[in-house]
């Protein structure tokens, strides 16, 4: 147990006691008389509802944490899609590029990826800038910008859910004060949409691998 956590737990223990007002209620508490509302929309039930609609699914791997799981698309608004995991983590993409995470820990709160998205869609090489927003300890959004270069790496045949697919690999090499990273986008040789990608989230989370799953 880290020192901070020990300190935290000690204070939590003290808090249950020392604080007045709202805090005093440790143990169990509840609400009666007021009638219960409808079934709470837990992430699982929202996912079940999305799956019932045959909503698209993706596999997500967090490289540094060695964890993986599936997410289901729960909302689509224009080019923006939001995907949810059963443990209530969401990922938001714009034209296939990651623009937000929620519930991961050190979340990507926002991102400006317009230049990267255009070059990747046009399959061109060239310099771009992108910017990420993160929350700091004072609940302010801190913006970090990155100088990047989009490169066309050439055709790659990948195994896509058991069938080989021809893709064009695009790479994005970025450098900024918050860190350096490389993103990869495997775009379908025909339509140009991103079939799978590796995209960087934050220094603490590292990169995620994302891969679309076939329709059921």
């Amino acid at each position: 147990m880290t020192t901070m956590r020990f300190f935290a737990l000690t204070l939590i223990a003290l808090t249950q006691a020392a604080c007045s007002g709202v805090g005093g209620l440790a143990g169990f508490s509840g609400k009666v008389l007021a009638s219960d509302g409808p079934e709470i929309a837990s992430p699982r039930s929202r996912i079940a509802a999305a799956e019932a609609r045959n909503a698209p699914r993706m596999k997500i791997i967090i490289e540094d944490r060695n964890t993986e799981g599936d997410v289901v698309q729960i909302a689509r608004r224009g080019t923006i899609t939001t995907w949810l995991s059963p443990d209530n983590v969401s990922l938001t993409f714009d034209r296939g590029l990651l623009v937000g995470t929620r519930g991961m820990g050190r979340d990507l709160m926002s991102a400006d990826v317009a230049q990267s998205a255009s070059l990747i869609a046009a399959r061109q090489t060239g310099p771009v800038t992108r910017a990420h927003g993160y929350l700091d300890g004072a609940d302010d959004i801190v913006i970090h910008s990155f100088d990047c270069r989009i490169e066309r790496r050439g055709p790659r045949r990948i195994d896509f859910n058991g069938t080989p697919r021809d893709t064009l690999l695009m790479a994005e090499r970025c450098k900024g004060e918050a860190g350096s990273f490389m993103n990869f986008y495997w775009t379908s040789a025909r339509g140009g949409e991103i079939l799978q990608s590796r995209q960087w989230v934050s220094p603490e989370i590292g990169a995620i691998l994302q891969k679309h799953l076939p329709d059921r």
């Binding site: 880290t2 901070m4 300190f7 935290a8 204070l11 939590i12 003290l14 808090t15 249950q16 006691a17 604080c19 007045s20 007002g21 709202v22 805090g23 440790a26 143990g27 169990f28 508490s29 509840g30 609400k31 009666v32 008389l33 219960d36 409808p38 709470i40 929309a41 997500i60 967090i62 944490r65 799981g69 599936d70 939001t82 949810l84 995991s85 443990d87 209530n88 983590v89 938001t92 623009v99 937000g100 929620r102 991961m104 820990g105 050190r106 709160m109 926002s110 400006d112 927003g133 993160y134 929350l135 700091d136 300890g137 004072a138 609940d139 302010d140 959004i141 913006i143 603490e204 989370i205």
Partner: protein, 705 residues
């Protein structure tokens, strides 16, 4: 499917909070920057809060040090001198305050220079003043040279150089006082002496120090608890991890010692951004806009309206909030929202707004969200739905959505009974859990505590009206074993605490009827009747003037109370008093909150309380206060007047989970009867301000979280 990511955040981010921690100076036995026992002039990062425990020989010093402003440090210290046989106590306990000012920060050539007043208001055991300078040489050496007075001028002292200004600087009185008063008349007086030392940073984690101390430890030698053989002290400091230092020492040629320091910075919580689950996204509006705009046919359909209402209730419920009332027309939805969960009100509002995008028909463009507390509307936040759609993924979406939000008074935004959400009233809530009730600084046993079970319940039959009570049953503890009898010459308004502990078993902590209301624009009101707190019952009324967008608030509180029986049942004693205050609160833009309460206190004394808090946007708060009344210091007794420090650590700061619970403590060196205030629950200012500016916008970054 496996659990994806949520839990892993903890371990990863704990370490990240301690960036640049290496710049933190090593601390001395007194808990201030220093070598071993002597102070250095190294600057402390703004906001750093340090807890230090140091012991050598029979001396134990516990210090809390807070960098109140970039140049100002405040320290509270509770020390023990074992077997000292001082003042009638075998083990002598002493509380002291230090004040330190950074005159110069270190430059390329110039040294850092600091001036300090040590134990400036206590009983004087550790009284000293110093002027100290520190310079870093190369990457690894640091030298300190200083001039000390008082205790720090007791070894190798010479005639005070300040006597060239005035002869009176040559002498220093040794009077021991009641404590509590500023012994300003003695500052920088008497003999002065030189101290100094050298620190070598051997590795990133390890540093070695040698110092020449100007403290002769006269008192300790006289009482036979320490032998002073040499002025040279030697120390090793090891940084266990950023923010945690362990020191080992050889002091005064006779003693070995150890020190543990823990430092945190309130601006750097362990998990910035929090670890709560994902909010809902902004949903696309259903259907398509026709040539005449969005369809408004739904407005006349009661079934649709009823579905909207129940869907919104369920959506907010899933987010840990409650729909109190909903007013709906073709273009505008006004939601009265109860938020018992999110300490950042902006987050509650942002989540509620996104839940509304899921539920509201496409023609509803304006969302008005009214945070409600204790059944009363606190403010109104008006958002445009198209802004939510535009800014959800925008880089500075937080700033843009704030700029476009209208934040105003909610005084005019009433609702009819038909708008009220089903099942909100009557509300009954209860809780059963453990409690700890600590007591500090009893000279016979510095920390006492009771552990027990408490049962709380609250019934709210209608908006603004709350009946609430709490019972406590101590299970084990030693609060009732104190033998401190009050020696106060004032009415015993607080000093009978031991009688309460001894004579109570099952206690009624409070039992009240409260009514909260809005008397008008910018005005908030409260009336509380019943058993208001542990020691007093009666009637309490308060009116607060607080504009939603302003930093200034003014309030008046009037109470008529009677002292409760020692058994903490329903009975009263025959002491009653009319007490009340006029209060002014001012929130400065850079995180300082000033407050003055002037009026009549529980003992019938008249005076004023002055408080200044450093407040961080995340709710972490450290402050100090003092009260001066018409009770003369001699009548007040030990400590001379009421004063103390206040610390609030939100649980959300520690855990990264949203929550309104906080570790909230007020430490008084001594509690006496002068300048004592009633502790009525739910005072208005703290209730109201979270939904107002500047608090609301300070945490607006969480709007999209």
């Amino acid at each position: 499917m496996t659990g994806l990511f949520a839990s892993a955040g903890l371990a990863l981010s704990w370490g990240a909070s301690a960036v640049a921690a290496q710049e933190r100076p090593t601390l001395s036995f007194y808990g201030v920057p220093g070598l071993v026992d002597m102070p250095s002039a190294q600057a402390v990062p703004d906001g750093d809060l340090s807890f230090t425990v140091g012991m050598f020989g029979n001396a134990l010093r516990n210090s809390v040090s807070f960098q109140f402003a970039p140049r100002i440090t405040g320290v509270f210290r509770y020390s023990r001198l074992g077997d000292a046989n001082l003042g009638g106590y075998e083990d002598y306990y002493d509380r002291s305050f230090d004040f330190r000012f950074q005159l110069l920060n270190e430059g390329r050539v110039r040294p850092a220079v600091a001036v300090g007043l040590q134990d400036f208001g206590g009983t004087g055991l550790y009284s000293a003043e110093y002027l100290t300078a520190t310079k870093t040489f190369g990457a690894r050496f640091r030298g300190t040279l200083g001039l000390g007075w008082g205790r720090l001028g007791s070894f190798g002292g010479f005639s005070n150089p300040l006597s060239v200004i005035d002869d009176r600087f040559e002498t220093r009185s040794d009077d021991s006082t009641l404590g509590g008063t500023l012994n300003a008349g003695d500052w920088f007086r008497g003999d002065a002496a030189v101290f100094g030392g050298l620190e070598w940073q051997a590795t990133d984690k390890l540093s070695l120090a040698v110092e020449y101390s100007s403290d002769a430890y006269d008192l300790e030698e006289k009482q036979g608890v320490l032998t002073h053989r040499s002025p040279f002290n030697f120390g090793v400091n090891y940084r266990l991890r950023p923010g945690v230092d362990l020191g080992a020492y050889y002091l005064y040629g006779s003693e070995i010692g150890a020190r543990l320091s823990f430092t945190l910075n309130p601006d750097k919580p362990p998990l910035p951004g929090g670890r709560e689950g994902a909010p809902p996204p902004v949903y696309a509006r259903p259907g398509a806009s026709g040539p005449l705009g969005w369809s408004q046919d739904w407005v006349a359909d009661p079934a649709t309206r009823s579905t909207i209402r129940s869907d919104l209730r369920a959506a907010l419920d899933a987010l840990g909030m409650e729909l109190v009332a909903l007013r709906l027309n073709a273009n505008t939805a006004t939601v009265h929202l109860r938020n018992p969960l999110y300490d950042a009100e902006a987050q509650a509002i942002g989540r509620a707004a996104r839940a509304m995008t899921r539920v509201m028909p496409a023609s509803v463009e304006t969302f008005v969200i009214v945070p409600v507390r204790n059944g009363v509307a606190m403010s109104s936040v008006t958002l445009r739905r198209s802004d939510l759609e535009r800014f959800e993924t925008a880089l500075d979406g937080a700033g843009q959505s704030l700029a476009r939000a209208e934040i105003a008074d909610a005084a005019g935004l009433g609702f009819s009974a038909a708008d009220l959400s089903k099942g909100v009233y009557p509300r009954f809530e209860y809780g059963l859990g453990p409690y700890i009730s600590p007591s500090y600084f009893d000279p016979d046993s510095p920390v006492r505590a009771d552990f027990g079970a408490q049962l709380s319940a609250a019934l709210s039959p209608a908006p603004g009206l709350v009946f609430a009570g709490q019972l406590r049953q101590p299970i084990f503890g030693n609060l009732d074993q104190s033998d401190r009898a009050s020696n106060s010459v004032l009415p015993h308004v607080r000093t009978d605490i031991v009688q309460y502990e001894k004579q109570s078993e099952l206690e009624l902590s409070y039992l009240t009827a409260e009514y909260f209301f809005r008397p008008g624009r910018n005005l908030y009101g409260r009336v509380t009747a019943g058993y208001l707190e542990r020691m007093y019952g009666g009637l309490s009324g308060e009116i607060l003037w607080k504009p939603v967008t302003g930093p200034l608030a003014l309030g008046v509180e009037v109470n008529y109370v009677r002292k409760r029986d020692f058994d903490l049942g329903f009975g009263f004693q025959d002491y009653s008093v009319a007490t009340g205050h006029a209060s002014a609160y001012y929130e400065f833009a850079d995180g300082y909150l000033a407050r003055v309460d002037a009026g009549r206190y529980l003992a019938g004394d008249w005076g004023a309380t002055f408080a200044l808090d450093r407040e961080f946007d995340n709710g972490f708060r450290v402050g100090a206060f003092f009260t001066l009344t018409d009770v003369p210091f001699s009548e007040f007794g030990e400590g001379s007047f009421d004063k103390g420090i206040h610390l609030t650590i939100p649980l959300s700061w520690l855990s990264g989970e949203p929550g309104k619970t906080a570790f909230d403590t007020t430490i008084r060196p001594i509690t006496r009867d002068g300048g004592a205030r009633l502790n009525v629950r739910n005072r208005l200012y703290e209730t109201v301000r979270g939904s107002h500016l500047p608090d609301l916008e300070d945490r607006w970054g969480k709007f999209w979280r």
